[in-house]
Structures are given as C-alpha cells and as structure tokens.
C-alpha cells in the first residue's frame, strides 16, 4: 500500500469524525431521553403520561436509525457494501442474543434485561463489525 498523503489522511479523518460525531450525539441524546422519561414516569404514581414519556426516546431512536440509513444511502459503493454487511451481521447477532438470553430467562431463571437495551447493543455490534470489515479490505 502506497503512503497516504497528509491531505488524504485529513479528509478521511474528517469524514470519520463527522460519522462518529453524529452517532455519539444521537446515542447520548437517546440515553439522556430514556433517563428523563423514566424520571417523569417515576414521579407520577398514576403513570398517566407513560405513553407520552416513551415517545421522546422513541423519536430520538427513530432519528438515529434515519441518520444511519441516510449515511448508508450517501456512501459510495464500497462503503455501502461494508455498511450493509455490518447492519446484517449486527441485526442477526442482536436477534440471536435476545433469543438465547430469552431461553435462559425462561428455563434457567436468568435476570430479565430491559428491551430498550436492544438498540444500543445492536449499535455496538455494528460499530465493531464495521471496523473489522473495513480493516479486512486493507
């Protein structure tokens, strides 16, 4: 592999920063929204605003998915190939993990985990797989 020019390195890093900045901001907003919504419902014994409280993190989660989908749509063919493979693997791993854990909950009394963990777990797996796949093509 030939030496990369400083300009090329800077451009590539700027693209990575933009990509990860969006992810971190939305992930942080999602976690904050979950805590805010939880505190609203905990302070309300009748839980009359439960559905509304759930909407806030749900909207942020939807925005996160749309952000990811738009990124993938705007990628070049190579980056799109890697991203789509990473999404497929992350989805499969998340579904498999949830099902296997469910079996342990059902039969072995394992502790239940909140379903809300599914999206952050999938995002983590996606990042790990994306990084691994990108490195494998170098």
């Amino acid at each position: 592999m030939e030496q990369e020019s400083p300009t090329s390195i800077a451009k590539r890093r700027a693209k990575l920063v933009r990509r990860f900045a969006g992810d971190f901001i939305l992930a942080g907003a999602f976690v904050a929204a979950v805590f805010v919504s939880k505190s609203i419902t905990e302070g309300d014994p009748t839980n009359s605003h439960g559905a509304l409280a759930a909407l806030l993190p749900a909207i942020i989660l939807t925005a996160w998915f749309l952000f990811l989908a738009r990124q993938i749509r705007d990628y070049g063919e190579f980056e799109q190939m890697i991203a789509v493979r990473a999404v497929a693997i992350a989805g499969a791993v998340t579904v498999w993990s949830a099902s296997v854990w469910g079996l342990f909950i059902l039969m072995a009394g394992a502790p239940t985990l909140p379903l809300v963990m599914a999206a952050p777990f999938a995002a983590f797996v996606y990042s790990a797989v994306h990084t691994t796949l990108s490195a494998s093509f170098r």
Binding site: M1, E4, S5, R12, G76, E77, F78, S134, F137, R138
Partner: protein, 64 residues
C-alpha cells in the same frame, strides 16, 4: 477477480488518491480493488475502463 488496475495506474504515475478522485470513489475502494479483495460494480468497472481507454476485459480478468 484479477485486475491490472495497479499496473495501469503506476504506468501513468497516478497515486491511489488521484485515481480515487478521478473515479469519485474512496481511496479505500481503490486499495481493495488493487488487492483483488473487492470486485467493482459494473458502473465503476466501466468508469475505470473509460478512464484508461481500454476495454473492461483488458483490465479485469476472470479466474480460469
């Protein structure tokens, strides 16, 4: 798929970044093609052929 991209690029003394810019793809894409780890789409293969003014089959060589 075997290809002559690296050979043709170096003949013209183009860097990977330069050819990536000419083809409007990423440098990582060019690296993957040159290392034969990634086969370009038909559209990109035709763009590469047009860039080097050669038929596609003179650049990309199917195994066997």
């Amino acid at each position: 798929m075997k290809n002559r991209l690296r050979e043709l690029r170096t003949e013209r003394e183009w860097s990977q970044a330069r050819i990536a810019e000419l083809l409007n793809v990423s440098r990582q894409n060019i690296i993957a093609i040159e290392k034969e780890k990634y086969d370009p789409s038909l559209s990109l293969a035709l763009d590469i052929a047009k860039l080097f003014e050669l038929p596609v089959e003179d650049i990309f060589l199917k195994h066997g």
